[in-house]
């Protein structure tokens, strides 16, 4: 009979820090540039070069740690991880082993389960190999970018939990501003360590490692596949080999890369070129103040302080940009619900690549005009698009286009009366096809008033006057 098994998963998550330069030189951080155009003797590891540690990279790592509740080490040491690979220019990667910047911390899943982090450390990224028909080429543009590696404890027990953990971790990093974590750009990558154990047992089986998974989907699929593979092996009475496996997303399966016996001894030792980094409590306190509220906390605040429905709060905190935009707008206009409505409909429609093409100032200017009944709702929408396009003050545009003049009830009545007089046939068709006729007259009024008439009021007046006429 087949036994039941628990899955034991630990994740190692690499996230690129959102700083302008590489970690040890002043080369620009880039993506998709021509190979080897963003390199210098330092990041290509020429003889005689030395690393110059970027202060901001250390600060961002501290902030990442603070966001997930890590302790910040008072002393951090950079070590060399020695191995040969063509994309590693110095034949060692500068990383951290004994004294990482952040220790501990963790993430609470919605089930209430807490996934502990072992550490977050700072290191440099390697270059990239490009395999062509002519041979393998090396692009060092990525080499030397600042990466943080978050290592979880083996507390995760399903693919779903892994994805929730990753989603939340990503949110923490994005909200605290340390990384953009765009997975499609490789700004966040994940290694999965997985083993199984008999239900109720404490004895772990051999674990396998799958490296460099670059989407949530492949993490999910790789976990499902690997758990199934291991359980099947055990059920067949076979052994699980401790090894590194490569996940092939196209085939939907993984295959062995190297076994433990072939594994590198990385011969770590402290890098003599980088002095020990001493992190004072003052620095930690200063950085703590810089960390904004995380999505969960924001959600609560939106519900309790702004009286928004949970649905709204959920959507508004789904991205850092939207949440920030909402908060900035609320500071300028005390009508959270109206702002929320507009963000959830119009703003999210016009957002592109996480960029909102209007400032909270202009956005709230429009809403203020609308709420003060200076412009109509349809004009407000039109104005929004125009402001985005021209990046001009909405008040100025509204003035120029004469939107600001409000059309009075009397004026609308006059226009409708005129329209009835000049379109007697249409009036006669009203009983047969009232919707169409009302629309036709509304159109006429809008044309006459350049859209400044309140459509609801206009409709009321049209229905009233036509009915009177027909009597």
């Amino acid at each position: 009979m087949n036994k039941e098994y628990d899955i034991v998963i630990g994740l190692e998550v690499h996230a690129e820090l959102d700083i302008n330069t590489k970690i040890f030189c002043s080369c620009e951080k880039s993506f998709g540039e021509k190979p080897n155009t963003k390199v210098c003797p330092i990041c290509v590891g020429f003889p005689g070069t030395l690393p110059i540690l970027n202060k901001k990279a250390v600060e961002y790592t501290i902030m990442a740690g603070l966001a997930v509740g890590s302790e910040i080490n008072k002393k951090a040491v950079f070590e060399r991880k020695n191995y040969f690979y063509p994309d590693l220019s110095k034949a060692y990667q500068i990383s951290q082993l004994q004294h990482p910047i952040c220790i501990g911390g963790g993430i609470k899943l919605s089930s209430g389960k807490f996934i502990r982090l072992n550490r977050i450390h700072l290191e440099e990224d390697a270059g990239k190999l490009i395999h062509t028909f002519a041979g393998t080429e090396i692009d060092y543009n990525r080499g030397g970018l600042a990466l943080i590696e978050s290592v979880s404890e083996p507390d995760i027990s399903s693919a779903d939990e892994a994805i929730e953990f990753l989603t939340k971790l990503r949110e923490f990093f994005v909200f605290s501003g340390v990384g953009k974590c765009r997975m499609e750009r490789g700004e966040m990558r994940c290694d999965v360590n997985l083993s199984i154990k008999e239900k109720g047992s404490e004895i772990l089986g051999n674990r396998t490692e799958m490296k460099n998974l670059n989407s949530f989907k492949s993490v999910y699929r790789a976990i499902e596949y690997e758990a199934k593979r291991q359980i099947e092996l055990i059920n067949k009475g076979e052994k699980i080999i401790q090894e590194t496996r490569k996940w092939d997303d196209d085939k939907g399966e993984s295959f062995s890369m190297r076994s433990k016996e072939d594994a590198n001894d990385y011969r770590y030792f402290p890098d003599p070129d980088i002095l020990q980094v001493n992190i004072s409590q003052e620095v930690v306190d200063r950085l703590k103040k810089k960390i904004p509220l995380m999505p969960e906390e924001r959600k609560e605040k939106y519900i309790n302080e702004y009286n928004l429905p949970e649905y709204d709060a959920e959507i508004l905190t789904s991205s850092k940009e939207i949440s920030q935009f909402f908060e900035d707008s609320v500071k300028m206009l005390d009508n959270a619900k109206e702002i929320s409505n507009w963000i959830m409909t119009e703003i999210m429609k016009i957002m592109k690549d996480d960029i909102i093409p209007i400032s909270p100032q202009y956005f709230t200017d429009i809403l203020k005009m609308l709420l003060d009944k200076k412009i109509t709702r349809s004009n407000a929408k039109e104005l929004l698009y125009e402001v985005c396009e021209k990046n001009m003050s909405p008040i100025e545009i509204a003035n120029k286009r004469g939107m600001l003049k409000v059309i009075t009830k009397e004026e609308i009545e006059k226009i409708v009366e005129k329209l009835i007089e000049s379109n007697p046939n249409s009036v006669l068709q009203y009983e047969e096809n009232s919707d169409k006729i009302v629309k036709f007259f509304v159109g006429g009024v809008m044309k006459e008033t350049k859209g400044k008439a309140d459509p609801i009021l206009t409709k009321k007046i049209i229905v009233k006057l036509i009915s009177e006429k027909l009597k």
């Binding site: 290509v44 070069t49 030395l50 020695n82 220019s89 001894d265 011969r267 003599p272 070129d273 980088i274």
Partner: protein, 466 residues
């Protein structure tokens, strides 16, 4: 007149006084290098040096301002990068390497119009060159093939060859001079220094070499005194320490010589104090472990992929590494890489590397304590009579010599080697039979005291010559 025999300072004056042009000075050196070709001290004379000399001559002719080192003609060790010039570290692996940038020290020297004449021979990647009399830099200075040499010390590779060639070797404090642009062999111990004919030449060069460099975060921001200006021969009230355990290492002849030095120093008003430092046995193991560990990692970048020569017989990536490195490195380099890797293996790390680091910090702390009681430490350079032919004993000698020069390396302290002509009948500094080689070590960043003591000794030496 032969200007090559003169000190750097003298030739700077001569250039200023238009007694010779830079171009003619360079030509004199080049001629001398040609004459001494068979000694293989110089690996390459840079043709750019003549161009530079002409440029500086032009400036002088137009009465334009020239740098403070116009007239300083320097050779550099073949592991220092100088933009658009060859640098090989005396390795087949880098035989075609052209430096894409200049070391920070080269930039500093050039800004003051020093001329880089060429590069000197060395042991491949500085391996074992601390015991090497044929070190190109020290030999070049001794043979007057240059005004002075800018060299790199790791475990005594300035101090010892300078001593063996009868010239003055100076290794400043760790962090005093930038390492940016120095091909790393053992990063913790690599230290730029000078090999000169006179103490003042060294002081002058140190004025320009020293200082914080944003490209080397291990350099120190400490203020740089004007070493040359402040060098004085006043040794009154000076306290010099002699490590009592040193006597366990040296034979009677060396002991007698050391005692003569001490007696002479006392006659100059120096107070001699005995220092207890029972750690000398640990110096060499610490150095060997840490230096080879770092060496093995630093040389990983020579993999046949980028700038080092790739094996023609490699098909797979594995073979590119294996064959290129097998063909590229010499035997001793390979041995040291193997050794270093062994020390760093995860199962050995605590036993070797960590232990050595701990011992290193203990030894550093302890030697620094001795400076509460003295201004400098005096160590002998010659240890046994050189007539010994027994090879085992010779090896032992080497170990002892290395121990005494590696002490400054592992503790990061500044040290200088100089001959002390106590017999006062030598006539020439080079006649070392009658003179004693000594090493002066001071506390961190106290190069000035070293220069003061060395300057006094030098004056004593010269008195007899003149």
């Amino acid at each position: 007149m032969d200007f090559t025999k003169l000190s750097v300072i003298k030739n700077i004056e001569n250039i200023k006084d238009k007694k010779i042009s830079c171009e003619d000075l360079i030509l004199q050196y080049i001629k001398k290098i040609e004459e001494n070709k068979e000694k293989k001290a110089v690996a390459e004379v840079f043709s750019s040096s003549l161009e530079r000399a002409k440029e500086i001559d032009k400036k002088i002719a137009k009465n334009q301002k020239v740098g403070k080192l116009a007239g300083a003609v320097l050779l550099i060790k073949d592991n220092i990068l100088y933009e658009n010039h060859k640098m090989t570290c005396a390795s087949h692996f880098l035989k075609d390497f052209i430096s894409p940038y200049s070391a920070s020290i080269i930039q500093k020297l050039m800004e003051e119009d020093a001329i880089i004449l060429g590069r000197t021979n060395m042991e491949e990647f500085s391996i074992n060159d601390s015991n090497n009399k044929s070190d190109g830099s020290a030999m070049s200075v001794n043979l007057s093939l240059c005004g002075a040499a800018i060299s790199v010390d790791a475990g005594g590779s300035i101090i010892l060859p300078a001593h063996l060639n009868g010239v003055i070797g100076m290794k400043p404090t760790k962090g005093r001079i930038s390492r940016y642009g120095i091909t790393a062999s053992s990063s913790s111990f690599d230290q730029v220094g000078t090999i000169t004919k006179s103490v003042k030449d060294s002081a002058l060069l140190l004025n320009f070499l020293s200082g914080y460099d944003s490209f080397d975060q291990t350099t120190c921001k400490k203020e740089i005194p004007d070493y040359l200006e402040k060098t004085n021969k006043d040794t009154k009230n000076l306290k010099i320490g002699v490590i009592k355990q040193v006597y366990d290492y040296i034979d009677n002849e060396s002991k007698k010589r050391l005692e003569k030095v001490i007696k002479h120093l006392k006659s100059k008003g120096v107070e001699i104090v005995e220092i207890n430092y029972p750690y000398l046995d640990m110096v060499l193991p610490i150095y060997e472990i840490l230096a080879s560990a770092e060496f093995s990692s630093n040389l990983g970048r020579f993999d046949g992929i980028k700038y080092s020569t790739r094996s023609k017989f490699a098909d797979t990536i594995e073979e590119v590494y294996r064959k290129s490195r097998s063909e590229g490195f010499g035997k001793e380099v390979k041995e040291r890489i193997m050794l270093g890797n062994y020390f760093l293996l995860s199962e050995n790390f605590d036993v070797y590397y960590n232990k050595a680091r701990k011992a290193q910090s203990k030894l550093t702390k302890e030697i620094k304590k001795t400076f509460l009681n003295c201004d400098a430490i005096l160590l002998p350079m010659e240890l046994r009579e050189k007539t010994n032919t027994n090879s085992q004993i010779k090896d032992l000698e080497k170990d002892v010599e290395k121990t005494l020069v590696a002490l400054a390396s592992i503790t990061g302290l500044p040290s200088l080697s100089i001959f002390y002509d106590i017999e006062k009948e030598a006539g020439l500094i080079n006649k070392k039979e009658k003179s004693v080689g000594i090493q002066i070590i001071c506390d961190s960043f106290n190069e000035q005291t070293i220069y003061n003591i060395a300057s006094m000794i030098e004056t004593e030496n010269l008195k007899e010559i003149q």
